[in-house]
């Protein structure tokens, strides 16, 4: 279990902390809707969430993953290959379009190019891009909250 700098017994997990806000229920509802939305590709979104977490210092091999992504084919070998996504044969054009967009999004969204956007639109369509963008925003936000509040999760924690 992570040890938070917040001196409060509720600082054991992000869920417990978020429950202190009146917005917690609507946040959970948005998150659930995200993963269930027919335009969301759970494998793509989970790959990008893991990759963003990795770039922020969280080992993707120890992170909990969405059951929907596992059902869609996400496995340990693919997760282990995440740092090599530009060249690994485990990642096709669709995954590369999403991961390229997500990496640029993380540290310099102004560096996203017309080609990056066109590749993503070509891969998942406009409804897919809307769902993916909201998913990316929410995923990064939750990762940053875990880290900043000192409650980063590992699988099974």
């Amino acid at each position: 279990m992570a040890t938070s700098w917040i001196r409060d017994p509720r600082a054991r997990s992000l869920d417990e902390l978020l429950s202190l806000s009146p917005a917690a229920d609507t946040l959970r509802a948005w998150d659930v809707a995200m993963w269930r939305d027919p335009a969301t590709d759970p494998l793509l979104l989970e790959l990008c969430r893991l990759r963003i977490g990795q770039m922020l210092g969280l080992d993707p091999r120890t992170r909990p993953v969405s059951p929907a992504a596992v059902a869609a084919g996400l496995d340990d070998a693919t997760i282990a290959d995440l740092p090599r996504w530009p060249t690994s044969l485990r990642f096709g054009a669709r995954e590369r379009a999403a991961l390229a967009f997500a990496e640029q999004w993380l540290f310099d969204p102004s560096g996203v190019t017309d080609d990056d956007c066109a590749a993503l639109r070509g891969a998942i369509g406009d409804p897919g891009c809307a769902a993916f963008t909201m998913g990316l925003a929410l995923s990064e936000a939750m990762l940053r909250l875990e880290l900043a509040l000192g409650v980063a999760r590992t699988a099974g924690a």
């Binding site: 917040i6 509802a29 809707a33 939305d37 640029q104 969204p109 102004s110 406009d126 809307a130």
Partner: protein, 173 residues
């Protein structure tokens, strides 16, 4: 904009209207029913807008925060020199945390900042400060990545409510 909104809509996120509505219920609840005061939330949101470089977000003002006393003389000080500004100490403490959260190492909250945050805010307020900042960053990044987001004139909009939506100007064509 590199992706057009659906016909008659303001943002491309409305290609998934149910998801966008779920987001707006959350965001409206966070702003209107949250435990952290609106001026402090707005300080965090505007700091993010400047750090992320969103020309829309940094020129939007939420009316509730303005009514709560966050005028332009204070907003102007939410820049890189905020630590030495004349901003109230509460805002300065919030901004130190916001800068860590938005940066490349969001876990780097040092002991001195941690103590200061806990002297200044309740735990629930801290959570909302972090949540507001992180979600605002996502919104700004969406505008920038799919933009580029143009600079807009200073625009005061109603504070988001659960049944409404964030009300920026229409996405540029």
């Amino acid at each position: 904009m590199r992706i057009a909104p659906p016909p008659g809509k303001l943002t491309f996120l409305e290609h998934r209207p149910e998801l966008f509505a779920a987001f707006n219920r959350f965001y409206g609840t966070l702003w209107t029913e949250g435990v952290l005061d609106q001026p402090t939330k707005e300080v965090a949101r505007l700091r993010n807008a400047r750090v992320t470089g969103c020309g829309i977000c940094r020129n939007l003002r939420f009316a509730g925060a303005r009514d709560g006393g966050l005028g332009e003389e204070l907003v102007a000080q939410i820049d890189d020199a905020h630590a030495s500004s004349a901003l109230p100490e509460r805002f300065k403490t919030a901004l130190r945390f916001v800068d860590v959260l938005l940066g490349p190492a969001p876990g780097d909250v040092d002991a001195e900042l941690a103590d200061e945050l806990q002297r200044t805010f309740t735990v629930a307020e801290l959570v909302e400060l972090a949540l507001t900042t992180a979600i605002a960053q996502g919104l700004s990044k969406a505008a920038v990545a799919w933009g580029p987001a143009p600079d807009i004139p200073l625009t005061i909009v109603p504070t988001p409510k659960p049944g409404g939506a964030v009300a920026p100007p229409a996405d540029p064509e």
